[in-house]
Amino acid sequence: MTDNNNFEPKIIGFLCNWCSYAGADKAGTAQTPYPPNVNVIRVMCSGRIDPQFVLKSFEQGADGVIILACHPGDCHYKEGNFLAVQRYRLLLRMLEPFGIEKERCRFDFVSAGEGDKFVRLITEMVDTVRALGPMKIPAQFP
């Protein structure tokens, strides 16, 4: 693992506008530091996250992808996050045959108040992906 210590993973974070993005902002107003490896792509709802966004991210060199949504029942659009969870499960099944570790693609819920949770998830994600090392993209990736 020591040889990964200098490796700075590139991670894409898909955040819905209403809860998880607001949670990230909350960490900002609290000025809680976390590693800068995650670049946030804002969508209105986690239900907008097309599995191809995740696949494309991996294909283009992301070492990890983290999807954050409103807690169940809190989706601003009622049920977009349920669909997002379903699609995430599907995604994991799509990644498996390519030998992509499932830890590279994470799904979680962050509320607008959970700045601390956001920081914890991002830190964990960066540590996990750093430990896994750079992503080796298989030849016939979709």
């Binding site: 990230a24 107003t29 966004f53 494309k56 009622k78």
Partner: protein
Amino acid sequence: MKTGVYFCKCGTNISDKIDAEKVRDSLAKKYPGIHFKTVDFICSEEGQGAVEKDLAENNIERVVISACTPREHENTFMRMLSRAGLNPYLMQMVNVREQIAWVTEEKDRATEKAGRSIRSAVNRVQLHEPLQKKEIDICPDALVIGAGPAGLKTALTIAGSGRKVILVEKSPVIGGMPVRYEELFPDMECGPCMLEPLMAEILHGQYAQNIELLTMAEVTEVIGSYGNFVASIKQKPRFADMHTCIGCAECIEPCPVSTKNPFNCNLNERKAISFPFAGALPNAPFIDEKLCVTLQGGQCKKCQEACPVENAIMFDDSEKVYERTIGAIIIAIGSDLYDCRKLPNLGYGKLGNIYTSKEFERFMASNGPTDGQIRTAAGTAPSSIAIVHCVGSLDANHKEYCSGICCQYAFKFNHMIEKEIPGTRVYHFYKELVVPGKDEFSLYHHARSNPNATFIRYADIQDLSVSGEGKSNVIQYKDISGKCGSVNADMLILCPAVIPAEESGKLGKVLETARDQFGFFQELHGRLDSAQSKIKGIYLAGTCQSPMDIQKAMNQGMAAAGYILSGLVVGRKLEIQPVNAVVNSERCSGCRVCIGACPYKAISFDTEKEKAIVNDVLCQGCGTCVAACPSAAIKGNHFTNEEILAEIAEVLR
């Protein structure tokens, strides 16, 4: 495309952590000749002015604002673009302050991340399309379904603003449940006295001409959406003309047919032509078609002969169907009570002298079956009365929620019993006592200080068992401490859980409006928007949404009216946000997956063309259907696949 990047320093909030010069260099490497400007505070009046001027002077076509979170100032900056003559959607914000400057420890890495994020925004914004708000004409009028306290308040409020209101009531009377109560908690105000002025306003007040009241009517179909619904309303014949009838009641006595009176909970009889109860409004009788001799083809017409007014009784009245255009709909159909027969240990329906609270209200009403006297079936005043609280409420085997009003009316009953038959023993069997609010405590204290009142707390309603013995019932109980005992009660009053109205399911289907796990109409948001349903333009008022007292029902009626008055403004068009889903019908395969994915029922299916259609008014722009479409036939405006992928591509470069 000439792109301008405006980098807000936010005092030192951003500039302390992020080296603007380095960001500029990294941008210029990728996008030579890009227009880059730092501004002290873009959100300030001066900052906005400077950017506006700069945009115009440099003929900027696409804009990236690197500043704070878009959740704070995206709208501010969109307006700024509009003022500068640019379409407001040709902008992308980068949240450098909350998500980079404030949270990244090392300046180098913060600068690197900011540069990367801004480059990605530049890449994305090239693909942005100018989007236009659409405007549609609206009808500011409203349909109110249910004429109880909540519906009446809504109708009056909307009518008072000069709009038309169609008020549809299923029964022949208006006023809902409380017109059946003699007195009201928490102040023991007389029920009819409180409601009659309100009902008079509806029928004959200053704005009555704006209100079209349709009693004995129901809404059978609704099409369209917010701003432009068309409702079909079916009205049963009343056989009495509300406008010519003078309400003298001369017609009642001669009628030869009698039946149980449901308005008095079947506790007395009424005629085939009758008033639901004395003082019922509108002040005109109705004829029960199934019972009336004449309407059943026989010879009678005694009521018509007795009537002093010509044409007030109309045997040739018939069912009518109305079609009305409205902009908004308010559901105010109230609630029902849980069937006490589902708790057989309480004896309801099997033993005598056991009544529901609603039935007991009629005993105490001066226009009720006993003229306001509390009497047992034998016609005597009871010497002991047991009031069982929480019947079916707070009970996982029945209804899990607390109905919230029962304790209060139980203490109201306590008060009324004490006044009407002093010295009566009253037993309160309860699971929990709930009396919130600043006025409600006084009836509670009154009951507690009644020397003839006994409070017995049980843990489970199954620990009560009622059996009949002679003219009195015996209640055997185990209290919460495990102590067993029994009391005699000449009369039992059960306080059943408040449950959704019988017709909630049917109406929910007609309006395609969601109901919650209990069957109450589901609010958009429990705290923020409890008077709004999940369908835009359909509002909720009163106990159809949740158990509540009259105060809350009236408030919710006002709240529902408020949404309509501010959302559908006379003379103003309805603005439709362009950030929504658009179907490309050439690509649409007609699979209908999107229809199931949409949480707002905004997508319908054109069966002729076999294509999905998005209703702009209902679409909220979440993009769930866009991600669901297997043919990539739906575009999510402002969050298109291409835009998002461009953002990803540049971030990872």
